[in-house]
Structure formats: C-alpha cells, structure tokens
Symmetry: C2
Subunit: 141 residues, 2 copies
C-alpha cells in the first residue's frame, strides 16, 4: 500500500474501478428496505456507466457474455438508491428498490438456503424460499 | 437449467459450492446488526470448511495467496451468525458480528465511499468513513 496509485485508489475521491482480467467488478445488490443481500453479480465498464447514468441496475452476464438490464425479461427491475465502492475498488455495493424478485428461480433473493454444519455434516436448509413468481411463466412464455 | 445437475445445485439441499478457475467462491459479509455490507472477499474450500466448523470467518487472500483467519493480525474477528449460499452456489453470504472494523484502512466497512454521477461526471464521496482504528498502529508495530 506504499504505492501512491494504490493510496489514491483507497483514499481518494476519483472513481477508478479495478476490473479483473475479464473486465469485471463484483456487484452486491442489497434490498434498501431490509438490508438482505438479493444477489451477487458482475458489471463491466458499460454496465457500471449505464447503472450510474440511469439509476437502474445493469449487469454483465458471464454465462451469456452480454450486457443485461436487470428485469429486461421479467420486469423485475432494480432502482438504485445508492452505489458504493470498496477500499480497493474491485467491488461495488448497490442498495436497491427491487421490483418483484431478484432471483431467476422466482425468489426475492438468490440467497434462499442457509448452510448448516453439524457434526461434520454440511447441508442446506431453505430460508425465505417462497417464490414471488413462477419462473416457467415468466421466462418460457 | 434443464441439466439435472444444475437443477439439483439450485433446488437441492446439498452444499455443492461452485468454485471458479482459481478454486474460489465470492463471500459477502454483512453486519448482522445493521445489514451494512462490510466486505467482499473470497473463500477456497478450506476457508469455507474452517468457517463452517469454527463459526469464525476465514478467507483466502488472492494477493497473499494464503488462507487467512479474519482478525488474526488485527484482532478484528467476525463471528458468523448465519451463512447462506446463492442459487448457483458460486457465492456465499455471511451475517457476522464484527469485532472492531472489517476494513484494513480502519473503517468499520470497506464500503466507505459513495459513487455519485452528476452531469456525466462520476466521483466518490466519503460516507461512514470514520476510522475505528489507526491502521499504522495495528499493522506496522
């Protein structure tokens, strides 16, 4: 951290996102009302710029290799209340007003399973896993 | 998502973390009391297992290429209240009781700057940026 560029990135007020080898930063979206983590996804430079300019969340889909406006298929958009960046600027946190549900499985949040470790056994338990919508009717019509 | 293995990973109750090419999953740590995002980091298989077994957060540092118990230098440990995984199991969310501060810069959270876009200009503004500790006295003694 004695490198002046690193000091500036951590302590300065210029936005210098540190993209990974694929040109992406990690984005955590939380529900502005409840604080729950809704999803973890990625943004490239264009997704970041469009999110900042429009106040709606845009992401970059690694699986589809494409820019993606959240909710463009489902209508379940995210209005950005606040965006923050972290110390080394390789991640952003957006607090959003989520229309409908964030997860493509129909749940409000992608994090609908708790990880439980008991007696050396690790398993999952459903938590807040009710579906807000039926993915078959939203994505396959 | 018609692949049975993918369906099982999304809907099943077995923990099958999907590690990236470097053997890592993304971990988001939030403050169990406030819901604030404290940090975004990574866990390898061993860090995940130790976190689950001990109830304290362990990470894998990409810059140091080493397993790392959060707070081992600073004393600022994270007690895990709950761990969740997301739909495709390439990320985990831990809600933690943070001792002291999560960020190596001395702030409670790594996300101490808001990203502001006005008139095409993007810049940062300090938010909740008070230092809880002096990093020079904690890390350089």
């Amino acid at each position: 951290m004695s490198n002046p560029a690193d000091v500036d990135r951590e302590e300065g007020l210029s936005f210098q996102p540190r993209f990974d080898a694929s040109g992406l930063v990690t984005c955590v979206a939380t529900d502005a009302a409840t604080g729950d983590v809704l999803m973890v996804a990625h943004m490239n430079d264009e997704a970041l710029r469009k999110t900042i300019a429009t106040g709606e969340a845009w992401y970059f889909s690694r699986s589809r290799d494409a820019l993606w406006r959240k909710g463009e298929s489902s209508g379940h958009t995210q209005r950005v209340v606040e965006m923050r960046t972290d110390c080394d600027q390789d991640a952003v946190w957006i607090r959003v007003e989520q229309a409908g549900a964030a997860c493509h499985t129909g749940r409000r949040s992608c994090f609908y399973r708790a990880v439980k470790g008991e007696g050396g056994e690790v398993s999952l338990a459903l938590v807040d896993a009710e579906r807000v919508f039926d993915p078959n009717s939203v994505y396959r019509k």
